[in-house]
């Protein structure tokens, strides 16, 4: 007992020494903490964000002013406890003044209370749930650079109403995970607002093997639109089963998943006709920013650059993390390359740039976040294996929604 206790103490202190290096405050570096899910179930988000952040730092040149940029990645292991620990390490030990990430909603939520203790400048290029802004309230140091869920439905409902005309009926499928639950009320709100009639709302279990029972119920009400509020994995399942069951609903509307390459590959011919909403689409033509053409290039050029580096097409998280990091770096530079979150926050608020995903400028959100950028979303449709952009006007490449193939 005694022996083991001593050894435990010794082991503990050795361990403490190993994991808690005295924070080295080198004067010539700017540290940015990046708590991301680099393993566990949200690994694809974390990995994408990491690509975006690294590419941004690299293209920026690795330095702001004459200070080296050091990104401290911390793996949250997709575990809330570890997320809290990562935030504490970054904020209280490394004493970083700038944070970027995480992407996954539960990780950002778990980080919020821990972040409150020091309130570093926090750029969140993910987390779509309005519960975040409800909880965070009017935090001046929180910079949300990703649209909240309601922006999706605002844009979807508006564009569908515009092109399809009034009086259409909608059936909604939502998953029992955070994604479905958080999107449902906003889908209800904005679709009703735009004059759609919701004729069915069906819940599905995330990861369900068989969606037939739900699809069978929807088949009976014969809606004009099907809106699927689910994550990618369930999106694939939904897409395939809707197609296989020949559900005969003219318009199929998804949320984020129709833009994803993995969804497109996995859904095969069933993807035809699905409408999606996103911040970024590879086919999108955005001009380079006149002031920062090297950072915010023509969207095609950037896409080529990304593809060259990572040997894959960029997705919205890649580009979201990229532009968010760039804006943060510009703000730091503009503030005189100081490690001072107040000054940098001032500069960040002043920024107004044209990026590959639209205008980069912070404004209050609809729901209470003080600093919200990239609320503009793009509505697109999968037509013949490519993306037709239908909203907003400036990016439009098609002027009407196609019906799903089997409905033609």
């Amino acid at each position: 007992m005694n022996l083991s206790r001593t050894s435990v103490m010794v082991a503990l202190s050795v361990f403490a020494a190993v994991i808690s290096p005295a924070p080295s405050r080198a004067e010539d570096t700017i540290k940015i903490g990046a708590p991301l899910s680099l393993s566990g179930k949200f690994v694809s988000y974390g990995a994408a964000a990491k690509r975006g952040v690294e590419m941004a730092v690299d293209i920026y040149g690795g330095k702001v002013g004459n200070k080296k940029i050091e990104i401290l990645f911390r793996d949250t292991q997709s575990d809330p406890q570890v997320a809290v620990n990562s935030f504490t390490q970054l904020l209280s030990e490394e004493k970083v003044n700038f944070l970027i990430g995480p992407i996954a909603t539960p990780m950002a939520m778990a980080g919020l209370p821990a972040w409150r203790r020091t309130r570093a400048l926090w750029v969140v290029p993910g987390a779509t749930t309005p519960l975040l802004e409800e909880e965070a309230g009017k935090e001046p140091m929180l910079f949300h650079t990703f649209p909240y869920g309601y922006y999706y439905h605002l844009a979807l409902a508006r564009s569908l109403r515009e092109k399809l005309g009034p009086g259409k009926t909608v059936a909604i499928i939502y998953s029992d995970d955070a994604y479905g639950r958080e999107h449902l009320p906003y889908a209800q709100k904005y679709f009703t607002q735009e004059g759609f009639k919701i004729v069915a709302e069906e819940l599905v279990r995330a990861g369900a093997t068989d969606l037939n029972p739900v699809l069978a119920k929807i088949r009976r009400v014969k809606p004009d639109l099907l809106l699927g509020l689910v994550q990618t994995t369930d999106g694939i399942q939904l897409t395939k089963q809707v197609y296989v069951q020949r559900l005969n609903i003219p318009y199929l509307v998804g949320t984020a998943y129709p833009q994803l390459k993995q969804w497109q590959d996995a859904s095969g011919e069933a993807q035809e006709g699905w409408v999606g909403v996103t911040t970024y689409i590879p086919g999108l033509k955005a001009k380079a920013d006149p002031k920062y053409p090297k950072l915010f290039m023509d969207s095609d050029v950037w896409k080529a650059e990304f593809t060259k580096r990572y040997n894959r097409e960029p997705e919205f998280i890649d580009v979201g993390a990229y532009v968010s990091t760039c804006m943060l770096l510009i703000a730091i530079e503009n503030a005189g390359a100081v490690d001072d979150k107040e000054k940098v926050a001032e500069e960040l608020k002043k920024l107004d740039v044209h990026t590959m995903i639209g205008r980069g400028h912070f404004e209050p959100s609809l729901g209470g976040t003080l600093n919200q950028a990239f609320a503009d979303v793009v509505v697109h449709q999968r037509v013949k294996g490519a993306d037709a952009i239908l909203y907003p006007k400036e990016f439009e490449t098609a002027d009407k929604f196609e019906q799903a193939t089997y409905a033609k």
Binding site: M1, S4, R5, V8, A11, L12, F15, A16, V18, I19, S20, L38, S39, G40, V43, G46, A47, F73, R74, D75, Q77, D79, P80, Q81, V82, A83, V84, N85, T88, Q89, S92, E93, P106, M109, A110, L112, P113, A114, R116, R117, T129, L131, E135, D176, D177, A178, Y179, G180, R181, E182, A206
Partner: protein, 319 residues
């Protein structure tokens, strides 16, 4: 005499738990809080294992504790130190019910029943969003969250109390009953203990302690959702820790918890540049741990190299 020494160690540890967090780096202090939750859940799991009850449902207790603390804090502003009382009662009640309902199930079958109940609880948490916030989760009322030092001290004290409980249990007359339970229940009866009641007692105690771990987590992260509160990973680490440290011992779960959480933290810090590597290393350690040191770290330490007698049911391998 042993009891006196035990008390001294316990009181000493309590003092350390109260004082140390003031002087520790914050990240380490957070780590100690996480460690405490792991010790709680590992030690409580080990208590049941001691009695031959293999639980795969400890995440159920954990989630119950976390949700009861969070919901009570939000509804009635019950402070963190008080919230362990209803949580423990709930955990104990649930544990007792579980033990009562599963009646004569043993071994793997008891284990699967516990897994099923814990998964069922997760489904309930997902499906009644009006109460639990559903999949979106709930934030714990922020104004009454304790600061980090209080949090660490409090959870370390709970961990010390838990280890003390299992220590005294291992010194009490129940240790024979426990050991006998692993072997056969009729032997327990010979010791004058009612096995059914004893089972219920052990499961209730274990459930109460495991829900404490949930309470700590709820306050520590300030946010919970069904996916993380009823995560099977909790159950798994609850058994990896004692196994790694040494099953059926008092120090085993503690040593094991420290070892695996330290390993996990080191791999996280040093391998965080590529997705999945951290967990991969963790898995490898687990596999090699089981293969190379079947009696855990504590066993390795004691060098108790008795001849390994094979189970008669599995024919011995040719040497």
């Amino acid at each position: 005499m042993i009891a006196v020494r035990g008390w001294i160690i316990i009181l000493g540890s309590l003092v350390v738990a109260l004082v140390a967090p003031h002087f520790l780096p914050p990240g380490f202090s957070d780590w100690l809080t996480r460690l405490s939750t792991l010790i709680l859940v590992a030690a409580s799991w080990n208590m049941m294992a001691n009695a031959g009850l293999i639980s795969l449902g400890h995440s159920g207790f954990w989630g119950l504790g976390a949700y009861s603390a969070a919901l009570l804090a939000n509804a009635f502003h019950i402070p963190f130190w008080l919230s362990i009382v209803p949580a423990m009662l709930l955990g104990a009640f649930f544990g007792a019910c579980l033990a009562y309902i599963t009646g004569r199930l043993r071994g793997l079958f008891f284990a699967i029943a516990t897994l099923a109940t814990s998964e069922a609880l997760r489904v309930v948490a997902l499906m009644v969003p009006k109460l639990t916030g559903g999949a979106e989760g709930v934030f714990v009322f922020d104004q009454i969250r304790p600061d980090r030092i209080t949090m660490t001290s409090f959870s370390l004290c709970l961990a010390v109390a838990t280890v003390a409980t299992s220590y005294f249990l291992s010194r009490s007359r129940y240790q024979y009953a426990l050991r006998a339970m692993r072997d056969s229940e009729s032997a327990v009866q010979m010791l004058g203990v009612n096995p059914a009641r004893f089972r219920i007692g052990v499961t209730a105690l274990s459930g109460a302690i495991a829900s404490c771990a949930g309470v700590i987590t709820a306050w520590f992260t300030g946010y919970i959702d069904p996916g993380s509160a009823f995560d099977l990973k909790i159950t798994i680490s609850a058994q990896i820790a004692p196994l790694f440290g040494g099953l059926y011992t008092v120090t085993g779960p503690v040593v094991g918890s420290i070892a695996i959480l330290a390993l996990s933290e080191l791999t996280r810090l040093y391998f965080n540049y590529s997705g999945g590597v951290g967990l991969l290393v963790y898995g490898c350690i687990l596999v090699f741990g089981v293969l190379m040191m079947p009696s855990g770290l504590v066993g390795l330490w004691k060098r108790r190299r008795k001849p390994v007698v094979t189970d008669a049911a599995v024919p011995a391998r040719a040497k």
